[in-house]
Assembly symmetry: C2
């Protein structure tokens, strides 16, 4: 009765995960994304787990240039502030990076968390759980995009209030992620920040513990 997956299925899933990349504006092509691809991404999002089956997510699919421009302006403002937080050496590297594809990607998706008015089962001890459900939905979209040969880039260097204003979000909605979605001319074989040695890959044995730290 229950679906049994085959060993080849988990191998394929690992491949999708391994080939998923954070895609920035220098990799997006301007090829239009068919509506049914966007629908498949949203369907994947809606299959995510949610605490207490609260489904506390909201998705705004953005194609209007004027909205993208407002978000891009916020990115520029926030970047100016951010760069100065880093050491002189990192600052030089930071300035060379293309960190978003807001205007290059044909579609942006702003993803919000809508808090519940009443108590949520499973969210009574760890209040973050609702936001975490929304993140699970984003990761589902990201993987589905890669399986459809579509790139997603998550832009977090924005002022959430500015993004909310740009899409008329209700006051209680909270921005969780701002995604740039489009076909790409290349998926890098490894994360760009790894390739350029911004950070090293951590060893598995340094982050996995047995019973206790």
């Amino acid at each position: 009765m229950n679906k049994i997956f085959e060993p080849s299925d988990s191998i394929l899933l690992n491949e999708i995960m391994r080939h998923r990349r954070d895609v920035r504006g220098n990799r997006f092509s301007d090829k239009k994304i068919p509506n049914d691809v966007i629908e498949q991404l949203l369907d994947a999002a809606l299959l995510a787990p949610s605490v207490g089956y609260s489904q506390p997510w909201q998705f705004v699919v953005i194609e209007e240039e004027s909205i993208k421009q407002k978000v891009y302006d916020s990115f520029c403002e926030q970047t100016e502030h951010a760069v100065n937080l880093f050491s002189d050496q990192k600052k030089q590297q930071y300035k060379k990076l293309k960190l978003e594809g807001i205007k290059e990607a044909p579609v942006n998706i702003a993803v919000f968390y809508q808090p519940s008015q009443s108590p949520v089962l499973g969210q009574t001890s760890m209040t973050e759980m609702g936001r975490f459900s929304v993140v699970c939905a984003i990761q589902n979209m990201w993987l589905m995009a890669r399986a459809l040969n579509v790139g997603i880039g998550w832009v977090s260097i924005v002022d959430p209030q500015k993004v909310k204003a740009a899409v008329n979000a209700p006051q209680d909605s909270e921005l969780v992620g701002y995604l740039c979605v489009g076909y790409v001319n290349e998926f890098l074989d490894e994360p760009e920040l790894k390739k350029m040695a911004w950070n090293k890959q951590k060893d598995k044995q340094d982050v996995v513990f047995k019973n206790k730290f």
Copy 2:
């Protein structure tokens, strides 16, 4: 050069997402999980995106009964408090639910966020991004588990400080998720909280917006 996935691949991914469930103690079997299955779950976690390539995750694989018991004790304490937050009608439903499988699952995995000492690229405007990266890792594990016909249940009705103490977590580490992992005698065809009408499934058109709310 770039991996191109086939239409059948995205269909399979959708199936894995669709058959993934939150598994509780009444569904876990006591069949031992081979080490290589746990390693495949951890490998999936390590393929998750992370803000600024910070890889801010820590995983504690727990099999010791005494540690599980401490976490279970915290679940019981927190549940006593939680039940009272709900309406009388919900309270009766709540009390009938089996909401965790801490002791029934052969393996538990506690997943932590380790904040960085220095600024993290991409986390300067939205400070939650590091925790969100850890959630992406959990969702990767959850999907990989389903593809390996293994169940995961995410327990959030615990006191994070008690869980930290039980596994000797460093002071700055934050609990993001506590997972129960095991083979199952059944994956429900739909979320249990949907089946019992705790909450209704939301309509797609109620959570998806075009350009603006």
